[in-house]
């Protein structure tokens, strides 16, 4: 697919995108490899080593928490969970948003008007409260967290994809496909969607930090990931309770979360520049 290759080439040329992307990749690699090579376990409580300060000796890089569990391994597990939730949630919102937007844009007319009016209506709602409601009603089901967070963020995607589809649908190759008798769904998924890769990549990078934010918000309140599983939000919550005596328990996960979010925000901005550059050309 030449659209994908051209997009990669432009991304490679953007220094900001490569830097933040590289930093993120580094964090993810450490988060995956770290717990494997560390001698400590993320569940093992140790009452001889409660609230130890971070040291290089015996590889307690981030110290221990109030139950003597190794904070380096726990933080890395937290990064894993946080990023996993964000990616899965983004895929959910990608599937919903692209399907919804492409159908509205391709069918057009009254269907489009009604579908987009619905999106406008949903825009006005503070979804996070509905997610909390879901968590209360369904007892913090892990799978549901993924779906609920993904279901929040598809609105932007649907709007953008619809706009692109509207203009793509008049192009010659779509007309040609229609003349040769390809079905509407076939045109949407075989001919329109591949041409949406650029926009979709940009908006997924912007959706991931939002998903991270929602997940860590829920976990911070104790409504998301449950013990002994952990995520950065849950670790920040634990750190708040210990901050007077053991400030590292707050500072470490808080910094990790902030750096990851900042990287995604910068990456998204850089990707948008990359994408806009093509538009203006």
């Amino acid at each position: 697919m030449s659209a994908v290759r051209g997009f990669w080439r432009r991304t490679r040329d953007s220094r900001a995108a490569m830097f933040t992307g590289g930093l993120l990749l580094g964090i993810v690699v450490v988060a995956i490899v770290g717990p494997l090579v560390s001698p400590h376990d993320y569940l093992q409580t140790n009452f001889d080593e409660l609230l130890r300060r971070p040291t290089i000796s015996d590889l307690r890089f981030f110290g221990t928490d109030d139950l003597g569990r190794d904070l380096f391994v726990r933080s890395m597990m937290g990064v894993q969970v946080t990023i996993l939730v964000a990616i899965v949630a983004s895929i959910v919102s990608l599937v919903i948003g692209v399907t919804y937007g492409a159908i509205a844009g391709y069918v057009g007319g009254r269907v489009d008007a009604v579908m987009m009016r619905f999106v406008d209506t949903l825009y006005a709602l503070p979804f996070i409260f509905f997610v909390i409601l879901l968590m209360v009603a369904f007892e913090r089901n892990f799978l549901l967290i993924f779906i609920a967070i993904g279901a929040i963020n598809w609105l932007d995607m649907a709007r953008i994809v619809r706009g692109q589809t509207l203009s793509l649908r008049e192009r010659e190759f779509v007309q040609a496909a229609r003349l040769t008798g390809v079905s509407s769904l076939g045109i949407i998924f075989r001919h329109i969607t591949p041409n949406l890769v650029g926009v979709v990549v940009v908006y997924v990078t912007l959706t991931i930090p939002q998903a991270i934010l929602v997940e860590s918000f829920l976990s911070f309140l104790g409504l998301g990931i449950q013990e002994p599983q952990t995520s950065l939000g849950a670790l920040v919550d634990a750190g708040v309770n210990q901050m007077e005596g053991a400030s590292w328990m707050l500072l470490i996960p808080a910094t990790l979360l902030a750096v990851i979010l900042m990287c995604f925000n910068f990456l998204g901005d850089a990707m948008r520049d990359v994408f806009d550059a093509r538009d203006s050309r």
Binding site: A124, L134, F138, A254, A258
Partner: protein, 307 residues
């Protein structure tokens, strides 16, 4: 203008209805009932409880009963805070949240617009770079990270301000929650203001004003500020939603007894009716405030209402 306002008001009704339907269905689609957590009860007592809370009726009938209540401002009884109605709990807790939120909003607007304007006037200077660096950081750090960090720095280490709510009197206990709520919004508003101010300052009518010899301060006050504020005005809707969301966390961290704290407690205690009621209240508040913002926008910018 009146016609436009009426149309928009009518347009908000389906949204509000959607809020109630969505929230109600989410709670009632869940497996199990609100009293399942308690030990098994004799069947006739269970039936009595179900009847008292109308849980034995078919779902559509329950919904209509609930909707009728909502329209009259009655959100039903709380399942956990016995002897309290949800409406009474909201009425008691909301004023504090409103005070915190409104102050934070005001602070965010003042500081954000000022910082954004300065950055735009001194474009690409050191001041601009610094301000925008702060703003990007502020956008990336969520409220529930900002708030504990502020407590750690200003209350625990420097001991300038009180960390908690109870045991402290006076205005000083408001300071940290308000700053924590306002900081991310300051960042957003500063970025928005800078971008739109740069846009406006580059336009022809500003060049004319400058050619006529007006001082920068006068240009800013009389000509540039109003058009530059339009994007900020349209951001007010999302800002209100963000401050409401933030207040849930901030009240949890500082222990201020506002609506956000009731919401979290209710969610952790599985107090269905309380959470349902607060969600409906919050969502309606956001929808209505969005409507107010839209009307304000139309009042300021005539292009909107004549479209």
């Amino acid at each position: 203008m009146l016609r436009y306002a009426l149309l928009r008001l009518l347009g908000a009704i389906p949204t509000l209805l959607l809020v109630v339907v969505l929230a109600f269905l989410m709670v009632h689609a869940a497996p199990g009932g609100p009293f399942d957590a308690e030990r098994a009860l004799p069947a006739d007592i269970e039936a009595n409880i179900a009847a008292a809370y109308h849980l034995d009726e078919p779902l559509p009938q329950q919904f209509l009963r609930y909707l009728r209540g909502v329209l009259q401002g009655d959100l039903g009884p709380s399942y956990r805070y016995r002897d309290h109605t949800v409406s009474a709990l909201i009425g008691a807790a909301f004023p504090l949240s409103l005070r915190l939120g409104a102050t934070a909003m005001l602070l965010a607007l003042l500081v954000g617009i000022a910082a954004g304007s300065v950055a735009a006037l001194r474009r690409n200077s050191v001041v601009d770079r610094l301000l925008m660096g702060f703003a990007m950081t502020g956008i990336s750090i969520p409220v529930f990270v900002v708030a504990p960090l502020l407590v750690l720095l200003l209350a625990v280490k420097l001991q300038w301000l009180p960390a908690g709510w109870s045991g402290n009197e006076g205005a000083s206990r408001y300071l940290l929650p308000v700053i924590a709520l306002a900081l991310p919004q300051i960042a957003y508003i500063a970025r928005l203001t800078r971008a739109s101010m740069i846009d406006v300052l580059g336009s022809d009518f500003i060049r004319t004003a400058r050619a006529q010899g007006l001082r920068t301060a006068a240009i800013l006050r009389h000509h540039a500020l109003k058009p530059a504020m339009l994007p900020v005005l349209s951001y007010l809707g999302p800002a209100i939603a963000a401050i409401l969301t933030g207040s849930v966390v901030v009240e949890e961290i500082f222990g201020s007894p506002g609506l956000g704290q009731f919401f979290v407690r209710g969610a952790l205690n599985r107090d269905y009716t309380l959470v349902l009621g607060i969600v409906i209240f919050y969502a309606s508040l956001v929808v209505l405030l969005n409507l107010v913002v839209d009307l304000l926008y139309a009042a300021i910018d005539p292009r909107i209402r004549h479209r």
